[in-house]
């Protein structure tokens, strides 16, 4: 029951984040959604993710606030984009309708068919020696994923440094 309340809180603050005019307050509203998500992870018995989500959320907020500090111009939506709004709303409603029919076929909430996870739980401790099953899944059963993961962050760092550098092209004036 409290999960539904938490989800409603997140949806409400997401709507606030989308509709509000001032940039800084919409960034704060997204922070509220992120922290609500971290609470939801706690309720859903995922402590690992709660810590990671909380900390990543703080970092995301700092980066976003850094981008909007003295740059929030008077925000004006001049022309009403009527066609654009209508097509987006129709697309979203269609998407939700199909999603509703698809979700009915999923196993009931709270009763997952743990075809592969049963093995992780049963033999996780003695095969990998790690008490934290999530760490054993991340770093041993699916270590290849985490190698890819570390590379994603490495790529993002090199990408940011490549984008941020002041002069990109040496335009030596020839002919």
């Amino acid at each position: 029951m409290e999960l539904n309340l938490l989800l409603l809180f997140m949806i409400f603050s997401a709507i606030v984040a989308v509709q509000i005019e001032d940039l800084l307050s919409s960034v704060i509203a997204v922070g509220a959604v992120g922290l609500g998500l971290s609470l939801a992870f706690l309720v859903l018995k995922a402590p690992d993710l709660a810590i990671t989500q909380l900390v990543v959320e703080i970092l995301c907020l700092i980066i976003l606030i850094r981008a909007t500090i003295k740059k929030d111009l008077p925000f004006s939506t001049s022309g009403r984009w009527v066609f654009n709004t209508m097509s987006t709303v129709v697309f979203v409603v269609m998407f939700l309708l199909f999603a509703f029919f698809a979700l009915r076929e999923l196993p009931r909430f709270g009763a997952p068919i743990m075809r592969v996870a049963q093995e992780y739980i049963a033999t996780g401790l003695q095969k990998t020696g790690a008490a934290n099953l999530v760490s054993s899944v991340i770093l041993d059963f699916r270590a290849y994923d985490t190698l890819g993961e570390a590379t994603v962050l490495f790529t993002a760092v090199i990408g940011v440094l490549a984008v941020i550098r002041k002069v990109g092209r040496i335009n030596n004036e020839k002919s």
């Binding site: 949806i11 989308v18 976003l64 740059k71 699916r142």
Partner: protein, 112 residues
């Protein structure tokens, strides 16, 4: 079932924000909301009623454990979301530096 639907509603709010809004920072915020919704949906799939966190204690036989696999995947997805957001914010700052505005209707030097 209601949790899944609410999670999809959150996804649609993020999608609406990305497709509809004209300010770059709002689009980045929409992307963040989409990533939150997808990560939440993954964990909702792995939840077990009256389940226990997947951390084994020293001398307790824990029976009803939650599914650890989606948690491992969502840990990866959270850090991917952070990496993409950081790169897009860097590009947005450079765009603001060059164009002087965050409004995508005014950033139209490319034709077509």
């Amino acid at each position: 079932m209601s949790e899944y639907i609410l999670c999809f509603v959150l996804f649609c709010i993020g999608l609406y924000c990305v497709l509809r809004k004209r300010n770059i920072i709002k689009i980045i915020i929409g992307l963040g909301i989409i990533e939150y919704a997808v990560n939440l949906f993954f964990i909702l799939l792995g939840y077990r009623a009256q389940g226990r966190a997947p951390v084994l204690a020293k001398d307790q036989a824990v029976t009803n454990i939650v599914d650890p696999l989606p948690q491992a995947l969502v840990l990866t997805a959270i850090v991917i979301g952070l990496a993409v957001t950081a790169l897009i914010v860097a590009i947005a700052i450079r765009i603001y530096d060059k164009y002087g505005t965050f409004d995508i209707t005014k950033i139209r030097r490319l034709k077509g």
